[in-house]
């Protein structure tokens, strides 16, 4: 490899690791020495636990809804409705064209107090429909790749000729074969929801990311600690995908995210 090649690799490493190292150092700083005080302060804060669990619950619900929507859809697109593929693909790419800020403004405008019961309007679960939309591209491309790798027709016919119904076929035959795609989509959605700030902030809900922002306005070292925690969540999600055997990096699956 050439010298300039090594130079660019060094630039890449530096750009990736320097901000992390700086944040880690800052989060451990305690006056003139180092300690875990900032982390202790965060973990002792009841608001941290509350908002973290809100985001965790939102992530789980979003993942469940998105999987329930997409597994049958992608299955049918592969099995019976290939002519609908362009439409589904188009709808799943749309969240790239409609930014989160525009999506939430539209959701708040249309799904307002006249159309939504006030109990839901005041609950963070109000965010789930929008989060599922943000997860469209991740879920679709992850599952689509998984379905591409298996012979949907043969598996379905074999299962049905052995007497299984649709639910049984989907649950016992198809699902185990596309689980790596489902898990990849779930992890990406998890990282997405745990970091989503724009929509939560505009809809005035307190989630983990809005808590990070709130701490950032008031306390510097705990904010750095939270940044490290948040980065750790992204790492875990991506590592999860690696462990189930899916390389991150196949273009479309990874593009986007909530900023």
């Amino acid at each position: 490899m050439t010298k300039s090649g090594w130079f660019w690799i060094a630039v890449g490493f530096l750009y990736f690791f320097l901000p992390l190292a700086a944040t880690a150092e800052f989060s451990l700083k305690d006056g003139d020495s180092y300690s875990l005080a900032a982390y202790r302060e965060i973990f002792d804060d009841p608001q941290f636990r509350d908002t973290f669990f809100v985001s965790l619950k939102l992530a789980v619900v979003t993942i469940i809804v998105a999987l329930l929507l997409f597994i049958p859809t992608v299955y049918w697109v592969h099995l019976r409705l290939p002519h609908l593929r362009p439409l589904v693909q188009f709808l799943c790419a749309l969240p790239f064209v409609v930014p989160p800020i525009v999506l939430i403004v539209g959701l708040l405008y249309f799904w307002n107090y006249q159309r939504v019961p006030s109990s839901l309007l005041g609950s963070p679960y109000y965010l789930v429909p929008g989060y599922v939309v943000l997860a469209f591209p991740f879920m679709f491309f992850a599952l689509d790749n998984a379905f591409r790798a298996i012979d949907v027709h043969t598996l379905t016919e074999a299962s049905q000729s052995l007497g299984a119904g649709w639910t049984r076929t989907l649950w016992r035959v198809i699902l185990p074969n596309i689980s790596s795609g489902a898990i990849a989509g779930a992890f990406l959605t998890f990282a997405l929801v745990m970091g989503e700030f724009t929509m939560a902030s505009l809809a005035l809900f307190n989630t983990f990311p809005t808590y990070i922002n709130y701490i950032g306005q008031t306390k510097a070292n705990p904010a750095a600690a939270l940044t490290i925690i948040s980065f750790g969540i992204t790492w875990l999600a991506l590592l999860g995908i690696l462990l189930v055997g899916r390389r991150p990096g196949r273009a479309a699956v990874q593009v986007g995210g909530a900023r």
């Binding site: 690799i9 890449g12 190292a21 150092e25 049958p72 525009v102 539209g106 990311p209 990874q254 593009v255």
Partner: protein
Amino acid sequence: MPFLAWATAFLLVPAGALLIGAFRTQDGQFTTEFVKDIFKGSSLDAYQKSIEISLITAALGGALGFLIAYAALSPGAPRLLRPAFLTFSGVAANFGGVPLAFAFISTLGTVGLATRALDSMGLNPYDHGFTLFGFWGLVVTYLYFQIPLMILIIAPAIDGLKAEWREAASNLGATSTQYWRYVGIPVLLPSILGSMVLLFGGSFAAYATAYALTSGHIPLVPLKIGELVSGNVLSDPHQAYALAFGMVIVIAVAMSIYFVLDRRASRWRRAVQ
């Protein structure tokens, strides 16, 4: 299909309502006033700044991302670099929002690690007009997700660059410069430009990082929409709908350019297979 119902209810209908809302007054009258306002005063400034920052981060992120990706993924590079760079890129591209802003405050803020290091060398960037909380600070911060995004998007195109082409070129007596001038760049250019257009869209849509970093001091369209909606400013929410409508138009134009470029790029993908 439940999926189609969901997409209609929570994506198409709200987006459509917004489109109509951009042309309406508070009491339901038709008006083009708000949309016309986009091209005036502070709204126009916001679009200019947003487009400017998106173009710059797309160009810089695209160029740096390509150079890094080519160095790490080309056939001559050590095997281990490939999974490492793709994994790091996956993480960094998905790491954004508020924490990213804080990471850069710890790095390049007034007392950040890099600032202190540069200061001890007598090169404090703050003495030379740089501030993390201004335009160029935002550029440097956005590059943290733009560069890895570029690496991920461009990787398949680099993989498609056949070693045979390079060998054929050098067998015919081409220098390295000639190879890039007549083979490498023409083959890769549509992919590189197309990826840069995607980076443009990502940066144009970004809200959280800019919000946390500049607390609204740089006028960007998403920040302006946020201000109008969350009620910091007493004004007509339909102004925000018009601004949002404008954002969708800008990104739709960018995406059309992407599809044209992608079709050109796919010629080589087919030729390769």
